[in-house]
Symmetry: C2
Subunit: 334 residues, 2 copies
Amino acid sequence: MIQTPYLLFLGDAPDQLAAKVAQGIKDWRPEYAIGQFRMEGCKADLGLPDLTLAEAKAKGVKTLVIGVANRGGVISQAWKKVLVAALEEGFDLASGLHNLLRDVEDLAAVARATGRTLHDVRVPSVDYPIANGKKRRGKRMLAVGTDCSIGKMYTALCVDKEMRALGLKSTFRATGQTGILITGDGVPLDAVIADFMAGSIEYLTPDNDDDHWDLIEGQGSLFHVSYSGVTLALVHGGQPDALIICHEPTRSHMRGLPDYKLPTIEQVRDMALTLARVANPACQAVAVSINTQHMTEADAKTYLADVEKRTGLPATDPFRFGAGKLVDALVALA
Amino acid sequence: MIQTPYLLFLGDAPDQLAAKVAQGIKDWRPEYAIGQFRMEGCKADLGLPDLTLAEAKAKGVKTLVIGVANRGGVISQAWKKVLVAALEEGFDLASGLHNLLRDVEDLAAVARATGRTLHDVRVPSVDYPIANGKKRRGKRMLAVGTDCSIGKMYTALCVDKEMRALGLKSTFRATGQTGILITGDGVPLDAVIADFMAGSIEYLTPDNDDDHWDLIEGQGSLFHVSYSGVTLALVHGGQPDALIICHEPTRSHMRGLPDYKLPTIEQVRDMALTLARVANPACQAVAVSINTQHMTEADAKTYLADVEKRTGLPATDPFRFGAGKLVDALVALA
């Protein structure tokens, strides 16, 4: 578990997009985002106070989060200087970079000497169990998609935010690096050993209050041949009571697979539901979440109405139009 | 790739069952099984010549294969003495034990000093790619099961043996530790990192002659909540042209999951076929393989006739009655 609140390290980000992890933290956990740390040449700006390490310390920051992609997969000398200073100032470091902080000798040595923790969320820090399939208390929603990178994390986060606003009990359960950095906890499922995938999701979503919702970030797609096994581990380990089907209507082929067309919303619903009912016979597909970012508002609304008519399920873009419909569908189920 | 032929190390096996890996090698690759090495108190016997290390060396043995489970997961001093002597004699070592040879300091040191290789087939030795889903040449059969440990490896091995006997081109593709030790090559899929599972199976079953069959060992079951993700990676990474559905009729619940009933053969066929057609729209379910070891011959034959009638597919127990029907079904497809 990563200690909060955070100082968001933007480094020398060449543009705003490079800082999307930091942006995600600011958007979804503003209470964690005390300030930003930018180096010379940084082209990203989150609109947060620029803080020195000492200022951040004084404001109670516990962890410096690397909220930016690095260039060429190497932690530069300039970055390293700041990261070492942060450890010496008393911060933990958290990173989702492919190259691990722990593999940088200087950082590992300083962390040892200062007693600070390096959180490399790219790799698991827990020995997960084999899934046992036992029924757990509490409610669980899983976002399943027609494709990868289609809005599953945003859907779960939107639902979580809306549920909290309504005073309902919910927890966003991160299964990817960005989600883990946003919330400070979760399972980096794509890096888990095959035999323990479903068990890691059981571990992530344990027994809870009967009226509590775990809102589980989906990964991949049952129809994406590169990652479908990861998705199925979520469907079976997550033991969902409810599925929300996620789709992006303008995509012309599966991400990274030019020869593969996207499945329909109905295909994903039927396949995911059949498989989910192995672990939880009561599971229902309750709603559809559409990523309409590449559509005009008018087109989006027409499309959503069409999806509702075709599927008989409530459909919305929760990021654009609010997650009310999705929350209503979940509450109605419980 | 493990160098053949083998001397099969049975250690101090408490009974014949403890030596089942060695038995599998002898049954399926008798040409690799030059002899056995038994220690004091060994209760297993493969009916192979008992050879000293020097005798085995003289007969051309390249690798000492640990074909026996160890007690309590520890490599005893008595074992270690033999293993060190084997390295010094010039043999590689191969093991599917949970505790790795490479983690035993003495063995690692002697292997380095002698230039020999320690094959721990429990863990991958290759950095597998992410699956790209590109259509590959050659034919592929995948064994899919209603449950784990139900006869998928034996089915693929039986088909391979029959195809070779008929002069057809085939390769058994091992995806588990026992299969890898039997054939000397393969992917330990349950130990692969989630993101690379399907890619590891693409790597295992590359382009081949148009009339060549890869006979892929299945793992888990799409309906086994602990391991289903591993199975789906096989279905998508394997890109099968043909599925053989494997079942054991006397099992009362899913292995390790007392609250889960087995799916029917038809459920597995339909689910696996729908998913397989994402990667290969031409995929067909061609036959059913029944593990009848707990049935009388009469009961087995009645059951098989019933399955053929119900499913419209040829059904046999290939280990008991021969794999002819399965091979015929595959050949008819090609």
